[in-house]
Amino acid sequence: MNLQTDDFALFGLPPQFAQDKAALDSQWKVLQAQAHPDKFAAQGAAAQRVAMQWSARINEAYRRLKDPLTRAAYLCELHGAPINAHSNTAMPASFLVQQIEWREALDDAQTDAALEALLALVNGVKIDLLGECAQLLDVQRDFAAAVLPVRCLMFIDKFAHDLNQRLDALA
């Protein structure tokens, strides 16, 4: 066990897409109870520094495992199929067309109800893609094939973020 140990091993959880939220939360607290700098407040600078590194590392792993999108991306990467979000930008035409339609719908939406309807639509597509990820990652264990739905989910996440900002602005 060290700072380079992978997220799943660090949390003592099976290295798979399907995760039990309650187990993840409780492991996080068990680990922080061990490593948090507050537990070493009276033990000198060296112990503080180590505690801070570990505590930050545990938070990083927790953040990545908690969100299904980052968890899926991480699994792909662990199995030699990196997402390369920045360099690899080729997406299927049908997906891009759908994105353009959503963007136009977002620009046109003037009411809370219109935005909420769009959000529901987006969330539906998101759930389908997450199901596809689960199938590819946990059942077929085809990590290279899972890269595409993960990349689609990244687009959707960004779109949902912009949509939520519009909702905030309207409120």
Binding site: M1, N2, A33, D38, A41, G44, V50, W54, A56, R63
Partner: protein
């Protein structure tokens, strides 16, 4: 992990000897100090039995000052030298301060943080705050007839990096060892949660004299997890006073002509506001230099005048709820903190928003200091086998400036701290050998709309074509919520690092100078103090190392053990001397010698925690 209590050699034969640890609520309007005595947190009173210290400092001349009630009493007769609400100035430049022209004292625009012009010279808000902190420190030391080992100081959850750093600097100036800065709503939740043995999700609505915070926390056995926090670090009871004062004046033909009048009018407005919490109508009678005011204000008038202020808190509540990913129905209780939550309109507003009656069974003035004291007691190692764990978040996003004045966010708000996050950047031009980094904090997309925290440069990048360099910028936020930034070019290994401090706050040199100029002026005094402090640090380090060796010494190879033994021996040998610098150097040497050991122990601790948990759940 249970910490063993060990009394300092030769200091006390009592095995239960404890370190004096205090919690301090450094408030806009008033400040308090609390400590855990016989297992119970309590606020410490002054000689007159008052637990509240008005956050007011009056400078009489270069040497003398009044602090607290004495200063408050002179506010209207000497407004220019009587500094109230200094918290609003912490970590702020002149341009940041709303209504600066209406303050009864005059501000000086100095680079970084604003200063106040007084009869005793220009005073930094850090120095003024240090006077308040030192007063509370002395109060605690008198109460227990002991030195303060360390303090937990509370800050508004919505304080940014500059405001937090300024608070920590003030504590250092007051001679306090800061165990931790913690957020006010979190401190309140500790006091509330432990008192009521509560579990579930709670909202803490904290409206103080000058700041507003709203936090959503999940409470489970011993764990206080902040899910999201929001607020406004320039909104509080002061603003309600000002709005009411303006309205009162508008009912008369009078115009305020002097700072004395201004102070009296505000004081009358505040008294009227407080009276309106208990009655439907309250009188305002006062004699200004320009004439007499004699009228009455009813509650609905007051509420109408201040409705826009209350609405701002409502907006923040909506946002924080969204950030937490929860709905109103998930909130089990709403805890009210801060004197301003006594206003009936606030209780109604919060009650209507969350659809439940807010909890007001704790004294809203004391609860923050009490929670801080509980945490201080634990951090000092007094609470045996206690497993209180705070998992707090950073309130505002952190990022750096990219091309076109846009912000690239590196640490999004509401991340659990401590945290380290990195992002890669590249060069813009062929042959570019340096990179200027501008660190900002805030939620807006334009750099101009965010707070500038620091600027620094990474130099010595080997010339490459544009876009070829890989510059990794790492933001590290520690458990106090304070940021440090490092940049490293991955190909060449060129590095630059900054504790985000010099560009807005006070440099270490300035702090050293202020320390020299402050209370403990006598040089011999200072030297004696520094030797004592160095010895205490050395003893602490020796004890910690010895107990680590007892627990996990088997992890070490013989040679490693010998190195640590030698460093301990050398430190023991030098602690008897009067050379503070030499003791400090040797303490540091021991810390370095044990660094690898500390890492090994942590690895073992984590592995054990995991296996213990797995066995328990199987």
């Amino acid at each position: 992990m249970a910490l063993l209590q060990i009394s300092e050699p030769g200091q006390s034969p009592n095995p239960h000897a404890r370190r004096l640890a205090v919690g301090i609520d450094l408030g806009t309007t008033h400040s308090l100090v609390a400590s855990v005595r016989n297992g119970v947190a309590e606020c410490l009173p002054d000689a007159q039995g008052r637990v509240i210290l008005p956050s007011v400092v009056r400078y009489l001349d270069v040497q003398r000052r009044q602090i607290g009630f004495d200063a408050l009493a002179q506010q209207s007769s000497d407004p220019g030298n009587t500094i109230a609400s200094v918290k609003r100035l912490m970590g702020r430049g002149l341009a940041d301060i709303a209504n600066a022209e209406r303050l009864p004292y005059s501000l000086v625009a100095t680079p970084g943080m604003v200063k106040v012009r007084t009869i005793a010279g220009e005073k930094s808000p850090v120095e003024v705050s240090a006077e308040l902190l030192a007063t509370l420190r002395f109060r605690a030391e008198d109460s227990f007839n002991d030195d303060v080992y360390g303090a937990v100081i509370t800050v508004p959850a919505y304080f940014d990096d500059a405001q937090r750093q300024a608070t920590k600097d003030a504590a250092q100036l007051a001679g306090l060892n800061v165990l931790r800065l913690i957020n006010e709503p979190t401190a309140a939740a500790i006091a509330y949660g432990l008192d009521n043995a509560s579990e579930g999700v709670y909202a803490v609505y904290d409206l103080g004299g000058g700041t507003f915070d709203i936090s959503i926390l999940r409470l489970s056995v011993g764990v206080f997890e902040v899910l999201a926090t929001g607020g406004d670090s320039a909104l509080g009871g002061d603003d309600y006073d000002r709005a009411l004062a303006d309205w009162i004046l508008a009912q008369t033909p009078l115009q305020v002509a002097s700072q004395e009048d201004q102070v009296m009018l505000f004081a009358a407005a505040r008294a009227c506001k407080e009276a309106l919490s208990d009655s439907e109508i309250a009188p305002v009678e006062l004699d200004l230099s320009v004439g007499r005011i004699d009228l009455s204000v009813n509650r609905s008038e007051f509420e109408a005048v201040t409705a826009s202020l209350s609405a701002r808190t409502l907006q923040a509540m909506r946002k924080v709820l969204r950030d937490s990913g929860l709905g109103k129905q998930d909130i089990q209780g709403v805890v009210m903190v801060g004197g301003s939550t006594r206003m009936p309109q606030i209780r109604t507003l919060v009650g209507e928003f969350f659809g439940q009656t807010p909890l007001t069974n704790l004294n809203p003035d004391e609860v923050v200091a009490l929670g801080a004291a509980i945490q201080a007691n634990q951090l000092a190692g007094n609470a045996v086998a206690s497993d209180l764990l705070l998992l707090d978040v950073i309130p505002l996003s952190l990022g750096i400036e990219t091309m076109g004045g846009l912000v690239e966010r590196i640490v999004p708000r509401n991340q659990t701290i401590p945290t380290a996050m990195a992002q890669d950047f590249t060069t813009y031009q062929d042959g570019q050998t340096a990179l200027a980094l501008h660190v900002v904090q805030g939620e807006r997309d334009l750099v101009a709309d965010c707070r500038s925290l620091a600027r620094f440069e990474l130099r010595g990048i080997p010339p490459m074509v544009a876009g070829a360099a890989r510059i990794r910028v790492t933001f590290t936020v520690d458990a106090d919520g304070l940021l440090s930034v490092a940049a490293r070019e991955q190909v060449s290994g060129v590095e630059a690092k900054i504790e985000v401090k010099p560009s807005y706050g006070l440099s270490d040199d300035q702090i050293a100078q202020m320390l020299k100029d402050s209370f403990s002026t006598a040089e011999a005094d200072m030297r004696a103090r520094s030797v004592v402090e160095a010895r205490v640090d050395a003893q602490r380090m020796l004890l910690a190392t010895q107990s680590a060796l007892n627990a996990d010494g088997d992890l070490l190879q013989t040679a490693e053990l010998q190195t640590i033994d030698a460093a301990m021996y050398a430190l023991r040998a030098i602690t008897a001397s009067d050379d503070a610098a030499a003791i400090e150097a040797q303490t540091k040497a021991l810390a370095e010698a044990t660094e690898a050991f500390a890492a090994q122990r942590m690895n073992r601790g984590i592995a054990q925690a995991l296996s213990g948990k797995n066995i328990a759940t199987l």
